[in-house]
């Protein structure tokens, strides 16, 4: 069997919404899995009305973020308050491999779509519930969202300056940790099914997954009793290690020097000014001790050049340096992202051109990229009913008339 897409044949019924779950199913869809996104008129995916919008005009099929996270999917508009809507979903589950949901605990059960019920429909189904802190526990019923949840994992505490309030990671950071753990668990569960014939139910907590990315921070406490704090841009093993101003408005360069060899190369590019020869800066240890002064002197040098210029010059001699890139830099100017075609321009019937990102890896033998633009709200109701489920015209018309499908 030689398939073009690595996940061709894999079928997913997707109840997830907002960011985390849709990123998971986008990754699966971009590798060839069939994703049926369950939506309802009562509650469309909230990201559909998340800024920015095409031309700045709000609409269900115009959000840039939604477009990015929902490539390669089908959208069916279905009323789950109707028993016959639930039946349609069960027919989808009957032929599926994976069911993903990210509602609060208990929601699927109230709809008669919990694991026990779905297992009756499809014995070896793999169902994964991703929630903020898990399906049970003293905080499991607290409503939450990524922007505040990220505070519980140490990531807010570790961002900013030690003498000030922590800063907000603007893009809810934990929303971008959980998707990878969910994908890893799903792929492992498929492996488990292949070896044992068994499906499973997985209760995956965003909180728990994210704490793994703060492991050394927590262990520094459990082992050494130390409460780590944010350090601005400092790094105990490097100096200079910072972000420095450049020519232009809000233009910055990041520079990281871990060895004396790199320091010498940096000094050469700076033209070996006298201050670099001072005993205050001659070794990594001394530079670390005089970092405030070092940062000031570095900034006086960087502010006369563009960050692009500095990056090229410094990289040429092996000094780690990079432009502090903006959205504009990445989309329009970054030669590497362009080389790897990270941002794909897709054409959507209503929205027109928009960006859909590729997964961050390239597979040598199989494609790894958006296949189709995101679905308009309910775009594939008829396709899913008739082509995927084989529903007769008459029944479909009847369900439309009854408001079960739309």
């Amino acid at each position: 069997m030689n398939k073009k897409y690595p996940l061709e044949g894999l079928k997913v019924v997707d109840f997830s919404w907002v960011f985390t779950g849709p990123i998971v199913t986008k990754f699966l869809g971009d590798h060839g899995a069939e994703i049926v996104k369950i939506e309802s008129a009562a509650r469309p995916d909230g990201t559909r009305v998340y800024t920015p919008f095409k031309d700045g005009v709000m609409g269900l099929n115009r959000s840039g973020v939604f477009a990015n996270y929902n490539s390669s999917k089908y959208s069916i508009n279905i009323n789950l308050r109707e028993p016959r809507g639930v039946e349609v979903v069960k027919n989808l589950v009957r032929r599926a491999d994976i069911v993903l949901e990210t509602f609060g605990p208990g929601v699927m059960k109230r709809r008669g779509l919990d694991y026990d019920e779905l297992k009756r429909v499809k014995q070896d189904i793999i169902m994964l519930s991703m929630s903020m802190v898990g399906q049970y526990g003293p905080h499991s019923n607290q409503p939450s969202f990524g922007q505040v949840l990220q505070a519980t994992n140490g990531f807010v505490h570790l961002l900013g300056w030690p003498d000030r309030s922590p800063c907000l990671p603007v893009a809810a950071y934990t929303d971008y940790i959980a998707p990878w753990y969910v994908l890893i668990a799903l792929m492992a569960a498929l492996d488990h099914r292949q070896r044992t014939g068994k499906g499973q139910y997985i209760d995956l907590a965003m909180l728990e997954a994210s704490v793994h990315l703060a492991s050394p921070v927590v262990m520094d406490y459990t082992v050494n009793g130390r409460v780590q704090n944010r350090m601005g841009n400092r790094n105990p093993g490097a100096a200079p290690h910072g972000v420095y101003p450049c020519k232009g408005t809000e233009r910055w360069i990041a520079i990281a020097v871990f060895s004396d060899k790199e320091w010498e190369a940096l000094c050469k590019v700076m033209g070996n000014p006298k201050w670099t020869k001072s005993p205050k800066f001659d070794t990594l240890l001394h530079r670390t001790e005089n970092q405030d002064e070092l940062d000031k002197l570095m900034g006086q040098w960087t502010k006369n050049s563009t960050p692009e210029d500095l990056m090229v010059k410094l990289q040429k001699v092996g000094v780690a340096a990079g432009v502090v890139q903006t959205g504009e830099d990445m989309v329009d100017y970054d030669l590497q992202l362009r080389h790897r075609q990270h941002f794909k321009e897709l054409e959507h019937a209503e929205m027109g051109t928009h960006l859909s990102e590729r997964p961050p890896f390239r597979l040598s033998k199989t494609p790894s990229e958006p296949q189709r633009p995101f679905p308009s709200f309910g775009e594939h109701t008829e396709y899913v009913a008739k082509e995927i489920l084989g529903m007769e015209d008459e029944e479909f018309a009847e369900l439309i008339g009854a408001g079960v499908l739309a």
Partner: protein, 418 residues
């Protein structure tokens, strides 16, 4: 949910050769905790990432790095100098029996040693080789030198973080490496799914920069759709929909994270918060507001600032734990800004038996680690064992598995191969 004990791992016991440093260590970790047999292949003397702090009892020592402990638990470890001819031959023998290889060397390094994907796939056509590098294997920046700060900056994440009167900042933690490692595991397992059906292995080329771009949310789309760079650094505040509101609030013993709720599911809980404030003589003029119908678009910045000021006074009178527990009761969204200590003391994590103890016989004690991040009806996260000491499993692998004699091992050791 049945007891975790006795449940099998989710993933088969596939053999993984892990040649990564700190840039890729989490990739092997996540496979190991799901059941893979991960063997860390280090240069003689140990991987340089053993020299990253913090250390056990603050004693710098390659066998005491907590960073190393955290991201290499459940792995076994051997030493091998793949820059020698003998080392290369031995590595090919290992590759023949392996299912996955993960590496994070500079692009082209393994090729130069005759151990690139082409050479290894000849030895083992089923092999999946995953490379984790700052910018990917090819392209104009592929040979750039980069640490976490650089890949973070190039991925657009630094620009959007920090205070407006100071330079942008990164997390004080190498998050871009962890992101790339996890996303590498995703690509690796997708390739595995394909291999299981076709028998074909393949090469997985991961970019740390791209994996971090994946965490940005709207910055690229703001630019592409609206030519807008409306992401000035607001510190603890958030500017969106034309208004600025506070997300991070000082409280009695630190900070909490909270967003004023209006006109969205959950806005009704505002009444409970206001009642709590009123009971302490705060927020008198917030009592009669119908929060469920107000939207940010209809409310002046002035009003938001006034309400936030009152809420801020209330938060300052209470600890983050008190505010969080009250929010849980009131179904409000307030969360504590947790430090490492707070995370460890979380009642939710305790109730789900999250923490695990791994024995470190050499240290004469056990250390507490983050544990299972999921519960499953069929399978369990694998608690396993502490990270390997340098060359700890040389004998197990070289003698018992590859059949080298003690004499041969002595020669290899003398020649600095192992």
């Amino acid at each position: 949910m049945p007891k975790e004990k006795g449940k099998p791992p989710m993933l088969g016991s596939y053999r993984v050769l892990d040649l990564t440093d700190d840039r890729g260590a989490s990739c092997g970790k996540v496979l190991a905790e799901l059941g893979a047999d991960v063997i860390k292949v280090e240069r003689p003397g140990g991987d340089p990432s053993r020299n990253i702090g913090p250390y056990y009892h603050d004693t710098p020592n390659p066998e005491k790095s907590l960073n190393w402990f955290a991201f290499n638990m459940n792995k076994r470890g051997i030493t091998l100098n793949i820059e020698t001819k003998d080392g290369q031959e031995i590595f090919k023998k290992l590759a023949k029996k392996a299912d996955f290889i993960i590496e994070s060397f500079t692009p082209g390094y393994l090729d130069k040693l005759g151990l690139g994907y082409k050479a290894l796939s000849k030895v083992n056509p089923r092999i999946i080789l995953t490379s984790i590098t700052p910018f990917g294997q090819t392209g104009p920046y592929s040979n750039y030198n980069a640490s976490d700060l650089i890949t973070m900056a190039m991925a657009g994440y630094v620009y959007i973080c920090g205070d407006s009167d100071r330079p942008p900042v990164r997390f004080s933690s190498d998050q871009s490496y962890y992101q790339a490692s996890l996303q590498a595991a995703v690509g690796t397992l997708i390739a595995h799914y394909y291999r299981e059906r076709t028998g074909e292995g393949q090469y997985v080329d991961v970019s740390i920069q791209e994996s971090m771009v994946w965490t940005l949310c709207y910055a690229p789309h703001d630019w592409y759709l609206l030519k807008s760079l409306d992401h000035t650094r607001e510190g603890p505040l958030w500017k969106r929909y034309g208004v600025t509101y506070r997300l991070i609030w000082p409280c009695k013993d630190g900070y909490v994270c909270y967003r004023l709720l209006m006109a969205q599911p959950g806005a009704e809980v505002m009444n409970d918060l206001v009642a709590s404030m009123n009971a302490e003589g705060l927020g008198e003029d917030m009592k009669d507001i119908t929060w469920t119908t107000l939207s940010f678009a209809d409310v002046s910045q002035e009003n938001i600032n006034r309400w936030e000021k009152e809420i801020g006074k209330y938060f300052l009178k209470h600890t983050k734990r008190e505010l969080h527990e009250e929010a849980v009761r009131q179904r409000n969204v307030i969360q504590p800004v947790n430090t490492g200590k707070d995370i460890f003391e979380s009642p939710q994590l305790a109730a789900r038996d999250f923490w695990v103890e791994l024995e470190h016989p050499e240290l004469g004690e056990s250390i507490t680690y983050p544990g299972p991040y999921f519960k499953s009806t069929e399978a369990a996260w694998q608690k396993g064992h502490r990270a390997p000491l340098i060359g700890e499993h040389n004998e197990e692998i070289y003698e018992k598995e590859l059949g080298f004699s003690k004499e041969e091992l002595l020669i290899l050791k003398r020649e600095n191969v192992i």
